[in-house]
């Protein structure tokens, strides 16, 4: 059995499935299962071996948690990727009491970056459960840092990076697929393993967003 054989990933896939079920079970344990799920998802796919995430919570009882890239509380929010670039990740989670204490994203952002600093971003997905006003951007939307080839399409002084392309539910699984398939970020597990796993869990992850 080689480190790259599908069978060598079977325990990771099984642990991921257990964590996925746990995050969807709701209750106070759901955030810890979610953290485990995210760790295993990235371990299986595009995370560098030194990549890290952290989960922050209030000592007293609180229905909210923050999961971000990196280990250092005073550091940045990036996950190092296998291609040497970075994914900045911040997820604000809460227990939705109106839905049987199910775990939900209150807000989420993930951003592919060429370097560790924000200025080098390539694309970003944002999601906010709360829609503040009618003029607010779509709850889920995608930004792309680039320029259009066609002149005069955007309003004057409006960069393409500030355009909100609607995307209903920017799941972490969608981020992984985008990075691997379209940006060529190498994956740790073989294609048949990580693809099947992502396909199995992405639809379930939709439950973490607004219905």
């Amino acid at each position: 059995m080689t480190p790259f054989s599908p069978s060598s990933w079977s325990s990771t896939v099984a642990s991921l499935r257990k964590a996925s079920d746990g995050r969807l079970a709701g209750g106070r344990g759901a955030a810890a299962h979610f953290e485990r799920y995210v760790n295993l998802l990235f371990r299986l796919t595009v995370a560098h071996k030194e990549a890290a995430i952290r989960l922050s919570r209030l000592a007293a009882s609180s229905p909210a948690w923050v999961l971000t890239g990196g280990h250092d509380l005073r550091g940045g929010n990036v996950i190092r990727l296998t291609d040497g670039r970075y994914l900045r990740l911040v997820a604000v989670l809460e227990l939705d009491v109106s839905a049987g204490r199910q775990l939900r994203f209150q807000a989420l952002t993930w951003q592919y970056q060429n370097a560790i600093d924000d200025d080098s971003w390539v694309f970003r997905a944002d999601y906010s459960r709360a829609k503040i006003a009618a003029a607010s951007p779509p709850r889920g939307h995608l930004h792309v840092c680039g320029t259009l080839r066609q002149p005069g399409v955007l309003r004057p002084k409006q960069p393409l990076g500030r355009v909100h392309f609607p995307c209903r539910r920017p799941t972490l699984e969608a981020a992984v697929v985008l990075l691997a398939d379209d940006f060529g970020v190498p994956t740790n597990a073989p294609h048949e393993v990580w693809r099947a796993t992502v396909a199995e869990h992405e639809a379930k992850s939709a439950r973490l967003f607004d219905s």
């Binding site: 485990r36 952290r54 922050s56 919570r57 909210a64 911040v90 997820a91 604000v92 209150q106 807000a107």
Partner: protein
């Protein structure tokens, strides 16, 4: 991928972290606390960790009205 670190923070540690992250990005911490309380999460992507930390605090915490 390294094992995840889990931090259990006190109210004062959270307030201090929000202040640190606000100043680091060039924002007035009081403005970030007020924005959160008003539901106006401006600079959304850049400041989301700070807003998430605010979300852990009780809504009537005095830091939101100072």
């Amino acid at each position: 991928m390294q094992p995840t670190k889990t931090y259990t923070l006190t109210r004062d540690e959270i307030v201090e972290l929000v202040r640190f992250k606000s100043l680091e990005k060039g924002h007035d911490p009081a403005e970030i606390f007020r924005n959160f309380a008003a539901g106006d999460w401006r600079h959304f992507s850049q400041m989301l960790e700070a807003y998430g930390l605010c979300a852990m605090l009780p809504k009537d915490d005095p830091v939101f009205t100072e």
